[in-house]
Point group: C2
Chain length 328, copies 2
């Protein structure tokens, strides 16, 4: 029998999860839950239900893993503990600084409900975290670097859109090639914020807006842009639509370390992602961890877990003997 997936929230991430489940023959989307009117939602999966979130308790025995597709700012801090009491869940909570508190809240609820909850699943936090952890365990005497991009930062794009006179905007975070090269060369550089990433902005102005003022407001915006070398391009709405409508992302995790009795040998571990669609890739990671949540729950486990706590084999549709024969 397939693993029955529930999807809570049907934005970019929810749709991404729906597409990811389609690629995993041992899973099926049972239902999508929404705060909107279910009749207004058109999903892609034939035979799956669309329900209002207030009816979710009726699905307690018809969903194996509930995937929470809300945002980290306000949705997940509330939803993840609430739903972990009722279902096995996976979320993609990505406010790094608040993960310990989120973990504690979800752990208590999941244990109370006897469910498995896997939090902060995706690529950062997620696959990037895993690679930071593996690499630092392998090379204890070394230095970690994470670069993001080239990719769209939703937060930075939103910040530009809030400026008076801006109709629309898209911001790309771009790693500085020279910094990446210095790391790859084993130079173990100390890098400032400005030396690590560039910010490139594509901005559509309202009619009559003052371009020079807008550009200055962007470049001097504290936290978001002031500490970076920022480029601003003014373009038309048509150009934005034609060339900047995607949500690509990616990045690099590197660890440079020394071995030998006197640290005489250097080593570089590098992991990188180049993603056409940030939410669809995140969804694929989530789908694999949903399989793990299901299996761990079947084994009788409960409580909150992260990618650090899950043996890799739990993610794969293949069994242990297959994995050893084909992938080891």
């Amino acid at each position: 029998m397939s693993i029955r997936i529930g999807i809570l929230g049907y934005g970019n991430l929810g749709r991404g999860v729906e597409c990811a489940v389609k690629q995993n023959p041992d899973m099926e989307v049972a239902a999508v839950f929404t705060r909107r009117n279910p009749e207004d939602i058109k999903i892609l999966t034939e035979g799956a239900a669309v329900c209002n979130i207030k009816d979710v308790s009726e699905w307690k025995d018809k969903i194996d893993v509930m995937i929470l597709c809300g945002g980290s700012a306000t949705d997940l801090p509330k939803q993840s503990p609430e739903f972990a009491e009722m279902f096995n869940i996976v979320d993609s909570f990505d406010t790094h600084a608040k993960i310990p508190q989120h973990f504690a809240n979800v752990d208590e609820a999941a244990k109370k409900g006897g469910n498995v909850a896997i939090i902060s699943v995706g690529w950062d936090p997620g696959m990037f975290s895993l690679n930071r952890m593996y690499a630092s365990a392998i090379l204890p005497e070394g230095k970690d670097y994470t670069f993001w991009g080239k990719g769209v930062s939703q937060g930075h794009s939103d910040a530009i859109r809030r400026i008076d006179g801006v109709r629309n905007a898209k911001q790309y975070t771009i790693p500085v090639e020279a910094a990446l090269e210095a790391v790859r060369n084993g130079e173990n550089p100390e890098l400032t914020t400005r030396q690590k990433h560039l910010r490139e902005c594509f901005v559509v102005l309202e009619d009559g807006a003052d371009a020079a003022r807008v550009e200055n407001e962007i470049k001097t915006m504290p936290n978001y842009f002031a500490d970076y070398d920022t480029t601003v391009h003014f373009i038309s709405e048509e150009e934005l639509e034609a060339n900047h409508s995607g949500i690509p992302h990616g990045g690099f995790v590197l660890r440079s370390g020394k071995t030998g009795w006197n640290g005489e040998n250097s080593h570089l571990i590098e992991y990188s992602l180049k993603l056409d669609s940030n939410p669809e890739f995140t969804s694929c990671v989530i789908a694999a961890y949903a399989r793990a949540a299901y299996r761990l729950s079947k084994e009788g486990q409960s409580g909150c877990k992260t990618v650090f706590d899950i043996a890799p084999a739990y993610l794969s549709a293949k069994d242990g003997a297959q994995l050893r024969a084909e992938m080891l």
Copy 2:
């Protein structure tokens, strides 16, 4: 109390493990075991014993994890089951085709002895296997590629040395840049053996040996060189010593995959290693998995495991709360 490590075999790998343990403050080398006369072996670790392998049973309660540093051809198939009955062990068995049989033999012995045995630890098999597995679980509709190098192949260097008239030789395996680029561009190429790797050989001839004949014998050698574009350089013993005495290696694991309802988005996952010393890096991976073997054994587990079966957190000296706060 530290994790007490035993090292069985004191060649390049054994010395590498000794250096790796030095970098992990929660471990110590308790003893090195050898088939040679212990008095002929000079180790680096102060206070560690050097013993003959025949006295190993006296160490049953004084070693937490025994690391087997022998070869995969003849040593490990015999030693790993034998020692797994007595100790928690880690080995780096790397004959991919024989892993299922090795696993079965070691599993039986480890269960009989109530010990944890982790086999095929290193970078391939090992970290490369993990990355193949994670990436294929995340992107089920995709294609895997593994490239090795640039690095020294011991097997190919040995094969050249066996040719009449050759005094010494070093062979480098080199990935074909154009093939790597095609994979990175998402072209999903079907690559022949020749299209994936080059072989570059540095050969020292015996006095009076016929260079043209040696070059021809190398380039036409079945399995080792005939299917590759091979370059042969004749150099002096001094030059070989000066420029080719290291044992660097590395390589790339890539997965290129599609997501979206109709596979409209492309993604690339890439993991790469650039290693000054192949045995020292392998040793570092082994040391981290020795920590895992120790912890799993303390939890009461037993039997044979591979990198697929070990939750990442077991490798790290940091505890769960630290990992979540610092690395997630």
